[in-house]
């Protein structure tokens, strides 16, 4: 029978907390940039300028058909080197955190843009017709009439995607960046207590994500009422 020994966790809490901060930072940047860039992509896809719409669709389909780990590896291994070669930067700079943020933001934007596109479609055609009848331009109709309603319809989906994104940040493990999961694994490896630390990490993720998803559900019910 396995003998549990949880004693290495209390001492490691500051390190784990720092890891959690890294996870949350990556999540926050990816959500903000992802939604802004995702909205632009969604609007471009509906644009009447065909090449722009195709470019946006190509971007979304490219990122949606490649695994996140693969995207992260590109941004950890290939892109920094490429940029360093291009601009003759020093080799010493640690770009992993920035790489992770950029990689996640560009990847998530593709998923956010699909949610936002569905949200835009959920706004009735009559609304756009009415906006045009009032003399609004296409841009005005989109900005003042369609998007505000679309975003209200999308809030639960956007939040659910944020929870998935938070879970996915654990994949920065492939770059050995110490996010919460990476930190827990490192402590476990150092103390020979991988079992305890992995169970602890799993429990923390579960509590956070379950609580967040309950909140989203409550929000959804209140919006529906």
């Amino acid at each position: 029978m396995y003998e549990y020994d949880w004693s290495s966790i209390p001492g490691a809490l500051p390190f784990l907390a720092h890891g959690m901060r890294v996870s949350l930072e990556i999540t926050a940047v990816a959500i903000v940039v992802g939604i802004v860039w995702g909205t632009m992509l969604a609007v471009l896809r509906l644009s009447s300028v065909k090449p722009l719409a195709w470019l946006a669709a190509g971007y979304v389909n490219l990122f949606r058909s490649v695994p996140l780990v693969m995207v992260l590896l590109w941004f950890f291994l290939i892109v920094p080197q490429f940029l360093q070669d291009l601009f003759n930067l020093g080799r010493a700079t640690d770009t992993r955190l920035v790489s992770a943020m950029v990689g996640f933001a560009l990847f998530e934007a593709a998923y956010y843009s699909e949610i936002i596109r569905a949200g835009i479609h959920s706004v009735g055609q009559g609304q756009i017709a009415a906006a045009h009848a009032l003399g609004m331009t296409r841009g005005q109709a989109l900005r003042l009439v369609v998007l505000p309603q679309a975003f209200r319809n999308m809030v639960p989906l956007l939040l659910t995607q944020a929870i998935i994104l938070f879970q996915d940040t654990s994949l920065v493990y492939v770059s050995a960046l110490a996010d919460f999961f990476g930190a827990a694994y490192k402590v476990g490896e150092r103390d020979g207590r991988i079992v305890e630390l992995l169970l602890f990490a799993g429990a923390v993720y579960f509590v956070l994500c379950y609580a967040a998803s309950r909140l989203v559900r409550r929000l959804q019910r209140r919006a529906a009422a």
């Binding site: 058909s65 693969m70 291994l77 079992v195």
Partner: protein, 243 residues
């Protein structure tokens, strides 16, 4: 930029045996496909079962099934994989036998079980949504005809529900291929891992990464085409979801 492109690197012999680097890539592709298909079969069976349990009358069964779904949905895939691979063999009976298997088999089994359970929770949600989308009268009519609850599911609810949920299942099926690359972290030599190995051995990162990325896109395209055909055949005439 002074990168030396060399696409013929794939035809060069790899250090192990008489294989070329191209053979490495193809064996990685095989592992990825085999792993994803095995895990998908598991996810469909488990997911259908749990999804049905979430809709049967009786509160405690439904609650248990809901807990199952929440556990597998609220822990990151990577954490689940590490728990299956590093933790459970230590704390479960039978773990010592598992650790005596050859490493490749251990990795494959852990990866398959992990992806299978992870995806089954998502499949279960789709199955539940499909069953709940059916008009209530269908269940009532089946029971009024004298069918038992299992018969109601077997002959009335599930045949319709499965046809309705084919489109959302397509995206879960695509996801399982993409998620399978997380399994490179436990040392399983699937497509991503082979790609990284190629970078280490040949120092031609661009060729290797471009090849791996294109292969994932190819898998994606093939699955999408096949599922589109299935969606066409499974479509329920006159149902809201069908066009």
């Amino acid at each position: 930029m002074s990168y030396h492109w060399n696409w013929s690197v794939f035809l060069q012999p790899a250090p192990s045996g008489d294989a070329t680097y191209l053979d490495w890539m193809l064996s990685g592709l095989q592992v990825t496909v085999a792993l994803s298909l095995a895990a998908w079969a598991m996810a469909l069976i488990l997911g259908a079962l749990i999804g049905v349990l979430r809709t049967v009358p009786g509160k405690s069964i439904g609650r248990g099934a809901a807990a199952y779904v929440e556990v597998f949905r609220n822990i990151p895939l990577l954490a689940q994989l590490f728990i299956w691979y590093f933790v459970l063999p230590e704390i479960l009976p039978g773990g010592t036998e598992f650790k005596q298997l050859n490493p490749m088999a251990q990795q494959f089994v852990a990866a398959m079980v992990c992806l299978g359970f992870f995806t089954s929770a998502r499949v279960a949600e789709q199955v539940r949504a499909g069953i709940e989308s059916l008009p209530r009268g269908q269940r009532a009519a089946a029971l009024a005809l004298g069918l038992t609850t299992p018969q109601t599911y077997r002959y009335v609810l599930l045949p319709m529900a499965f046809r309705i949920i084919v489109p959302p299942l397509t995206s879960e099926f695509l996801n399982i291929f993409k998620n399978s690359c997380v399994c490179s972290t436990i040392g399983l030599l699937e497509l991503t891992a082979q790609g990284r190995q190629l970078v280490d051995y040949t120092a031609q990162p661009y060729e290797s990464f471009i090849a791996v990325t294109l292969l994932y896109m190819a898998i994606n395209a093939v699955v999408m085409l096949l599922m589109r055909e299935l969606e066409k055949r499974a479509r329920v005439p006159g149902h809201i979801g069908s066009r």
